[in-house]
Structure formats: structure tokens, C-alpha cells
């Protein structure tokens, strides 16, 4: 069977999945919406992912924005960030199996352009644990540019401004007849809508005469969710308010255009500094851009669009959906890779028509020098794949080993860069100081992943290391998880899907029963009738028909789910749950 090309945008707040159908990228439906909240609740036997997890209003057992912890040692209920991400990916596989009837075995997965090597490795590990072979890791703004470029069929130099939930990326690209050449990229991994929500909450606490630290961690998570809803609702209103429950009582959160403008000023300023620097690195001035492409949910804010127009003075493109573009671009590129793989005739039409991507290294890579400085070996914005070598020598007589500390970042001091790994080259033959010739070779492959080799020229001692996260999952943990994953391949596969359908439908029915009375009369009547139907079909073991009805129910409830979640978050129900 020909493999279907899949692209996965594993976002901080929202994940989006796209697959190719007749050469057109389609968006996978979750609860009647195009996005899956990247939220996982662990209070049940199996992880609950997405809108249902938010609906549970159970911050004590729920992981939000796990992407921010990728590549770190953080643990959530005993799980690493890699494992939590794997649970999101497993859920995605599950939904594809249910809705489309096939298995996601390979995919292009996107990462923020500014992700470090450790964060990229962690993303690959998450995919491996979920039994997904990563065709390619591509950078989010680049993926968006692919979707944009193929949609517009245009050539020129464009910038992508990607303001998402957790990260900000800015990339400058040249589009030339299907080749997407990244000229430079810049960004900040800790600049996103999440931080804005936090500020909105803090602003309200201050306005109420409270300290910003009065809320516990978990209370704060719920408060930020309410702030997020306010921010997203503001566009049609001059001012919005919603209740937010603190343990000590209810606090009304208020957001007006003026307040948001005030809060956003600082964030926008930071994005402009990064954008300007990146344009300089690309050797392009804003007025020479052929356009600015907006990506990321935050760019839906009118006030952002206005400031961008003023700051860049270039044409702003709105015609691609800022939330879907990344996943679509990933699916398109997955398709291009698969087409070329199955079609080795370089002169064939399909081969030539597939887009080609030339991306860059986002952050410089180097080794720590003797005095704690950094010797940069591969500079940021170098096109990939790339390979560079450096020669070092011993500084003591008869020195037989040499230690290397690999770092990533732009700071001139090693301690201020991200530490990737340390390794020692041993077995250097004894000789006077300065005589040994140690070669260190850095290579970055097309996934943006670093490999390092080192050897002494006269002795031919070769050491090859691929960087593995110095924090996060240990090698042993990873190995055992991969073993389990491999053993689960059959359990995960279609053969088991009837049981899946039954279990999942029953779980959903329970959930729907709790909310069915909250939806409008007309929809409620249809939903109740369909729920009865679904029950009968399951009893009769007519699973294929059951899936169709279940999907329809998801669409029906999907229309109201966000509103139900919102009012639940700011309504009285929350108190009961939090008091528990």
C-alpha cells in the first residue's frame, strides 16, 4: 500500500495534523475542530488528550504546554516531557486510525526553528516511542512558507512571522521555482501567547490589590486558561470579563483593548528586535521583502497585524490560515519526500515538481575553549547539511586525553550557552605539548541534528558521538521504552480497532452525557437520538457504522465544546472540583 504523507505540527498549546489526499493537504478533525489542544490528563488509567482533558478542570493531574519542557529533566507525574509528547502523538495516531482507517507510520514533524539540538532529539524520541518514523524534522516557519509558496505560486524573498503559544520564530526565505531557501532565522523559545496570558492574569491580580504570587501553581494554570479565553474573545468586543475561581473566592478577570495593547507592547518590541536582527543576518532590508507571512494563533490579534504593518511597511499576507499552515506545509513536504523515495527516476515529472527545502542551523555550535570561551565551529544560519572541521592540540607534555564540551548558542561565554554534551578523546600517543593534532568534525544533517567526530591524526583514534540529551531520558530508559513500543506495534494496529472503537465510544458517551444538557435545545435533541443509536450499534457489534455516528456526535458537540469549557472554567462547577 502506498504510504500516505502525514505532517504533524506538535504545538505548545495546539497540535494540528495534515495528510495528503489527491495532492491536496487535508486537516484532521478533532471534535469538529482543526486543532487538538496539547493537553494531557493522567487521572484515568489511560491518558486523556485534548479538549476533554481541559474540560476535566483537573490541574492537579493535567500537563499543559509540555513542549516548553522538551530537552529538560522536568517530570510530570513520573513522566518525562518526551513521554508526555509521545502520549499526544499516540492519541493522534489513534484518531487517524479511527477517522481515516489507516496507521500513521511515518511523518514529517515540525519544531520551532529556534529549537536546540537537545529539543530536536527529544522530539524525535517522542515520535520513536509512539512508533512513528520521523521522515524529517522541519522548522515551523519553513513549513508554513512551503504551504504559502505553493498556494501563491510565487517567487521572491519573504519573511515568516510566527507568534505561537509558546515560541516566537522569524525566518527569511527565498522562494525560487519550488526551492525554498532559508536565508536566516531567529527566535525565542520563551516568547508566546502563554506568556501573554500570564501577564493578563498578573495585571488583574495587581489591579485587585493582590500579589502575583497569591495563586498556587495549579490555580494559576486555571487562571491563565481564563485569561487566554478573554484574549481570544476580545476581537469583537471593547472589553470582556469572566470569573476566575481562586481557593479564597472568585476573582473577576477583565480585559480591554487598552490593557491588552499595553501588555502587548513589550512582547511586540521583543519580536521586532529579533525580526530586525534576522533581516540583517539575511542581508535583506524590510522594504525589499516581497511580503510578510503571518503564522501562529497570536497573529489573529488585530493589534498585532496593525503594528506589523507599521513596523515592516511591506505587504502582509493573510490568505493562509495561520493555525493550519505549518501542518499543511509538513504534509506537503512529507509527500515530496515519499514521492522521491518511490520514484527514483530523477527526470520524471513528479520528481521535478516536488518542492525542495534548504534550511539553516538556527544556533551556532561550538566547543568550550580553555578559558571558558566558545570556539564556534558551525555558525548560525549556515545552510544544512554542513560539515566543518577544526584542529586542536595538546597543551601539556605527554597529554593522553582531551576533553571537549559541546555548546550551542550565540553567547561568547560557554556557561551562558546551552550545554549539549561532554566527551573525552583518549589514547593520544604521548608527545610534547603542541605536537598532537586532534581533529574535531561537526556535521549537521538535514534534520538539523548534530553529529560530532574526533580523532588524533597520527594515532587514528576515532570517536564518534551523536549528541544525546544530557538531561531528560537516560539511554537505558529510552532503550526500554523503544522495546515496549516495538512490542506494541501489533497491539496498536488496525486488528485491534474494534475493541478501540468500543472502548473509546463508551468513554465518549460518558463524557457527552455530562454535557448534553448544556447545549441548545435543537442540537440536544439530535445528539440524544444519535447517542441512543450509537449505543444500539455498539451492542449489535456494527463497529463501522458506530464510528460514523460517533464522528457525527463529535461534530455536534464540537461546535459548543469551547464555550462549555469556558463557562465551566469560570463557573461555579470549578469550585466544587477544586475543593475536592
Amino acid at each position: 500500500m502506498a504510504m500516505t504523507a502525514v505532517g504533524i505540527d506538535l504545538g505548545t498549546t495546539m497540535s494540528v495534523v495534515s495528510h495528503m489526499e489527491d495532492n491536496v493537504p487535508k486537516i484532521l478533525d478533532f471534535d469538529g475542530k482543526s486543532t487538538l489542544p496539547s493537553v494531557v490528563n493522567y487521572s484515568q488509567g489511560t491518558p486523556v488528550v485534548g479538549r476533554q482533558a481541559i474540560y476535566m478542570v483537573d490541574a492537579d493531574n493535567t500537563v499543559f504546554s509540555v513542549k516548553r519542557s522538551m530537552g529538560t529533566a522536568a517530570r510530570f507525574f513520573g513522566k518525562s516531557a518526551v513521554e508526555v509528547s509521545a502520549d499526544i502523538l499516540r492519541h493522534i495516531k489513534y484518531v487517524v486510525r479511527q477517522k481515516l482507517g489507516w496507521e500513521v507510520e511515518e511523518a514529517v514533524i515540525t519544531v520551532p526553528a529556534h529549537f536546540s539540538d537537545l529539543q530536536r532529539v527529544a522530539t524525535q524520541q517522542a515520535a520513536a516511542i509512539a512508533n512513528i518514523n520521523v521522515l524529517r524534522l522541519i522548522n515551523e516557519p519553513t513549513a508554513a512558507a512551503i504551504a504559502f509558496g505553493l498556494h501563491e505560486r510565487t517567487n521572491g524573498v519573504f519573511a515568516v512571522y510566527d507568534f505561537g503559544g509558546g515560541t516566537f520564530d522569524f525566518s527569511v526565505l527565498r522562494l525560487a521555482d519550488g526551492v525554498f531557501q532559508v536565508l536566516a532565522t531567529g527566535g525565542d523559545n520563551h516568547l508566546g501567547g502563554d506568556d501573554v496570558d500570564n501577564e493578563i492574569l498578573n495585571h488583574n491580580l495587581r489591579a485587585a490589590g493582590l500579589e502575583t504570587n497569591v495563586m498556587g501553581e495549579n490555580e494559576k494554570i486555571l487562571g491563565k486558561l481564563v485569561a487566554k479565553i478573554l484574549k481570544e474573545q476580545l476581537e469583537d468586543n471593547a472589553e470582556v470579563t469572566r470569573g476566575c475561581c481562586l481557593k479564597r473566592g472568585e476573582l473577576e478577570l477583565r480585559l480591554s483593548s487598552e490593557i491588552l495593547e499595553d501588555i502587548m507592547e513589550d512582547f511586540l518590541e521583543r519580536t521586532f528586535r529579533i525580526s530586525d536582527q534576522t533581516l540583517r543576518n539575511a542581508g535583506v532590508s524590510a522594504k525589499n521583502l516581497d511580503g510578510l507571512v503571518l503564522v501562529g494563533g497570536m497573529t489573529k490579534l488585530n493589534l498585532i497585524q496593525e503594528s506589523l504593518a507599521a513596523h515592516f511597511g511591506t505587504k502582509i499576507f493573510h490568505d493562509i490560515n495561520p493555525e493550519e499552515a505549518v501542518a499543511k506545509g509538513a504534509a506537503i513536504y512529507a509527500n515530496s519526500l515519499l514521492t522521491r523515495r518511490s520514484n527514483t527516476d530523477r527526470n520524471s515529472k513528479n520528481f521535478a515538481a516536488a518542492p525542495l527545502l534548504i534550511d539553516v542551523v538556527p544556533l551556532s555550535l561550538g566547543v568550550e575553549t580553555f578559558g571558558g570561551g566558545v570556539d564556534r565551529i558551525i555558525h548560525r544560519n549556515s545552510p544544512i547539511p554542513i560539515m566543518e572541521r577544526r584542529e586542536y592540540t595538546t597543551y601539556q607534555n605527554n597529554q593522553t586525553g582531551m576533553e571537549f564540551h559541546l555548546v550551542q548558542g550565540e553567547r561568547p561565554i560557554a556557561d551562558e550557552c546551552r550545554s549539549l554534551a561532554r566527551f573525552e578523546l583518549g589514547n593520544i600517543p604521548p608527545m610534547p605539548a603542541g605536537m598532537a593534532r586532534v581533529i574535531v568534525e561537526f556535521s549537521v544533517n538535514v534534520d538539523g541534528l548534530l553529529g560530532v567526530k574526533a580523532w588524533e591524526k597520527s594515532a587514528d583514534v576515532t570517536q564518534f558521538i551523536t549528541v544525546s540529551p544530557s538531561s531528560g531520558l537516560s539511554g537505558d530508559e529510552m532503550a526500554s521504552m523503544l522495546e515496549t513500543a516495538a512490542a506494541n506495534i501489533t497491539a496498536d494496529s488496525l486488528a485491534a480497532s474494534n475493541i478501540d472503537i468500543k472502548v473509546e465510544s463508551e468513554r465518549m458517551m460518558k463524557f457527552w452525557e455530562t454535557i448534553v444538557d448544556k447545549i441548545p435545545e435543537e442540537a440536544k435533541n439530535i445528539a440524544k437520538a444519535r447517542m441512543g443509536q450509537l449505543k444500539d450499534l455498539l451492542e449489535a457489534e456494527k463497529y463501522q457504522d458506530a464510528v460514523a455516528v460517533k464522528n457525527e456526535l463529535e461534530r455536534i458537540f464540537g461546535q459548543f465544546l469551547d464555550e462549555i469549557i469556558s463557562s465551566r472554567l469560570s463557573g461555579e462547577n470549578v469550585k466544587n472540583i477544586m475543593a475536592r
Partner: protein, 163 residues
Amino acid sequence: MLLNTPMAMNYFEIFGIPASYNLDVSHLTEAYLQKQGRSHPDVGGGASDSEDSALLNVAYGTLLNPLKRAEYLLNLDGSDISATSSDDTAAKIFELREKWASLESRGERARFCGELRRRTSDLIDSLGKHEKNPEEFRKIFCELRYVDAFLEKVADGDDGGWY
């Protein structure tokens, strides 16, 4: 910065363009994209292809950047630019650093960086005008190198947010 792998062709020859500081950048890019379209791992795969693609990237990156291009040309000519000027460079960077440290406000620093960036682009232009004069070319190159190194090491590093 000569590439470390032995090879028959120099970077200019790879792209079929004359070995000159004054090159046509759009011409270079066109040749690069065309070559990459045949050797990128995504269009062919295979270990040797990948090395090929990496070499094209190193060669393109070197010729595209005026400072690296000048250095590469000086290397091709056999000028020893690393040893003779390094002490001088260190002293000059030290001077710039002192000046930098004496600036107090963010605005002053930004202005200083702006000045240096303008100086950089002037130097890049004058390299082009002095290609035929090896002595002058080398002198301009050395100044450009330390200003550039300073901007990269100190000014950009100080910019924050660049983890």
C-alpha cells in the same frame, strides 16, 4: 578558511564563476541552487551525495559572505593572514571592548553598533575597489575582520534572547 577535504576544484570553479572578490551574487545563488537541486540528500540520498551537498553549502556560504570571500581569496593567493595579523586583531578588539564597556545606556550601545555596522559596509565596499591592490586589500580585510568579530562576539551576544 580552506576546506579541509582535499579536492581538485576551488569554490569558484565549483560554481563556474571567475575567482574575483567582485562577484555577481545572484549569479552565484543561481548556480548554487541549480547544483543543490541535483545533490541535496532529499533529491537523491546516499552518503556521497550528502557530502557533496555539504560541500556545496560550505562553498556557497564562503563565497556569499564578503569577509569570508576575501579571506578565501587571500588564502588562494597564499597570503598568510592568520599569523601576522592576529595580535593586532586581538588588540583592536580589546580597544572596541573598552569603548563598549564605557557606554552606559542601551541607546548608546545601539548607536555604537550602528556606527560599526556602517563601517562594516563601507569596508566591504572598499574591498571591492581595491581588489587589484593586494597591500591595501589585505589592510582593509584585517580591519573588517576585527570589526566583524567584535560585532559577533560582543554586540550580538549582548542582545539577549538569543539562547
